[in-house]
């Protein structure tokens, strides 16, 4: 596999590359299950966790991944940084470069911020979520989890339900899953469906039921609390009633379908508590797999940066 310089998005990442990452993640998952959950592989590599938009969960996952590979990590969050004092992203990033990071993991509220950084500084960039664009390691960990349960992604029927328009998780899953030969259906109220999604080969529904019917995987997206003041749907209650996943709706999926959610969940809104905690829910596995997938990504991006 040709070595990657950055992981900015799953769009354009080949089937072979995705498979390499997922295979590697399987081995790293085994590392995390040992008593000593750490390998010396990336000693001397510095990973900066540059989180302009706060996300404790994703940052911790990357931090654990880096540490299990023996890389050094530096955390740089919006509140601790001079960005809150009006410094631009580029100025802050250039200052970060004084610490000679090999890898910069960026979470940012603006789509394309990682592309901008990748053009501007000499470090490998990992996109940890940029605006409504992509969240490639989330897409990879979701595919990893699906593959663990279903064996193969090929021809897998995957339903993604929720705010597709504003979801980077949905975009990364759509791109990755289509590349891997899965069949993707998305559903949500029309206010949350972006135009022309069908052109990518995705089946688009404005009701949850037909999207779930016969699915192998049902992925519920988080309804963003910060969008509540918006005018995309009337109330939590109505959303739960019309678009939430409950046991009855889950019954439309295949009997062995798994339930996924990128977290954090709004119990009682997009997913009922009994479904979230049921035997078919793999939500906590997703979190565990996130570390393994991120280890694989950090390894692939930085192993070639180590000097002999």
């Amino acid at each position: 596999m040709p070595s990657m310089n950055h992981l900015l998005e799953l769009e354009g990442v080949s089937r072979e590359q995705v498979a390499t990452i997922l295979d590697l993640a399987r081995e790293f998952k085994a590392v995390s299950q040992r008593r000593i959950k750490k390998v010396p592989t990336l000693r001397g590599i510095t990973v900066v966790l540059f989180f302009i938009e706060p996300s404790t969960r994703t940052r911790l996952s990357f931090e654990v991944a880096a540490k299990r590979l023996s890389a050094d990590t530096l955390s740089f969050t919006a509140s601790s940084s001079s960005l809150s004092k009006g410094e631009t992203l580029l100025d802050t990033a250039r200052n970060l470069m004084a610490m000679k990071p090999d890898v910069v993991v960026l979470r940012h509220f603006a789509s394309g911020a990682c592309h901008f950084l990748a053009r501007s500084i000499p470090a490998a960039i990992v996109n940890a979520g940029d605006g409504a664009h992509e969240h490639p390691t989330q897409g990879l960990l979701d595919m990893f989890t699906m593959r663990e349960h279903k064996g193969s992604l090929d021809k897998l029927e995957v339903a993604v339900v929720g705010d597709i328009r504003h979801s980077r998780v949905a975009r990364s899953n759509i791109q990755g899953l289509l590349t891997m030969g899965a069949r993707v259906r998305v559903a949500g109220p029309r206010t949350m469906l972006p135009p022309m999604l069908d052109r990518l080969g995705v089946r688009v529904f404005d009701r949850i039921e037909p999207a779930i019917e016969g699915a192998d995987v049902v992925m519920m997206l988080r309804i963003q609390k910060e969008r509540m003041g918006n005018d995309l749907f009337p109330s939590d209650r109505e959303y739960a009633r019309v678009f939430g996943l409950d046991a009855t709706r889950l019954g439309l999926a295949k009997p062995d379908a798994i339930v996924m959610h990128p977290g954090p969940m709004n119990r009682g809104v997009e997913i009922t508590p009994d479904v979230a905690d049921c035997g078919r829910s793999v939500i906590l596995e997703q979190v565990e797999n996130g570390v393994a997938v991120r280890m694989a990504v950090l390894y692939l991006l930085s192993a070639h940066l180590l000097e002999g």
């Binding site: 040992r34 008593r35 070639h304």
Partner: protein, 185 residues
């Protein structure tokens, strides 16, 4: 079955030679694993096949079988980044409690000792073995680290630039052989 860019120079062992050497190695390994909880762990990828051959012989002789594992040392290598290609991480599988187990580490060729060094680091991350011994099919010399094998199938006289390859039928070779190759200029 020479790799691309390599010219076959001489054959150290043919099929019957490989069988003889494995028989002797198996006898020595049997002695090491005879007392107390023991395991044979092959280093990916060549060592795994040699370990499998040794275990087959132990089984054939009716010797009590030790635990079996495989170890990939990629993540412990000290030359990551020195080669252009992406190193492949293979399966590490130690399905038993390593602590208080005596381990015979098996590799196909002992050369600089760096692989064994990495393997030792990797192993101790899984627990505290009772002891670790090293068995190799071929010792070709030129050690860079102070590491020696406890059981050696064949000591071979080689040049540093040469490459020694153990070719077994289970890896697709037409016949079992140990071959010295020269790098094509």
């Amino acid at each position: 079955m020479g790799a691309v860019g390599l010219i076959e120079k001489r054959v150290l062992l043919d099929a019957s030679g490989v069988a003889q050497v494995l028989d002797r190695l198996a006898t020595e390994v049997a002695g090491l694993v005879a007392h107390g909880p023991s395991a044979v762990i092959g280093i990916q990828t060549g060592g795994v096949h040699v370990a499998r051959r040794i275990l087959d012989r132990l089984a054939a002789r009716g010797t009590p079988l030790p635990s079996v594992g495989t170890l990939d040392i990629t993540l412990y290598r000290d030359d990551i980044g020195m080669t252009r290609e992406q190193p492949q991480v293979r399966r590490t599988d130690i399905p038993f409690e390593l602590s208080r187990t005596g381990v015979v580490l098996v590799d196909d060729v002992l050369f600089t000792g760096r692989t064994v060094r990495a393997a030792l680091d990797a192993l101790v991350d899984f627990g505290r073995p009772r002891f670790i011994r090293l068995a190799v099919l071929v010792d070709r010399g030129f050690r860079e680290y102070p590491i020696q094998a406890d059981c050696i199938g064949l000591r071979a006289d080689t040049e540093p630039a040469e490459r020694v390859q153990v070719e077994l039928v289970e890896t697709g070779a037409p016949a079992d052989r140990v071959v010295v190759y020269e790098r094509r200029a």
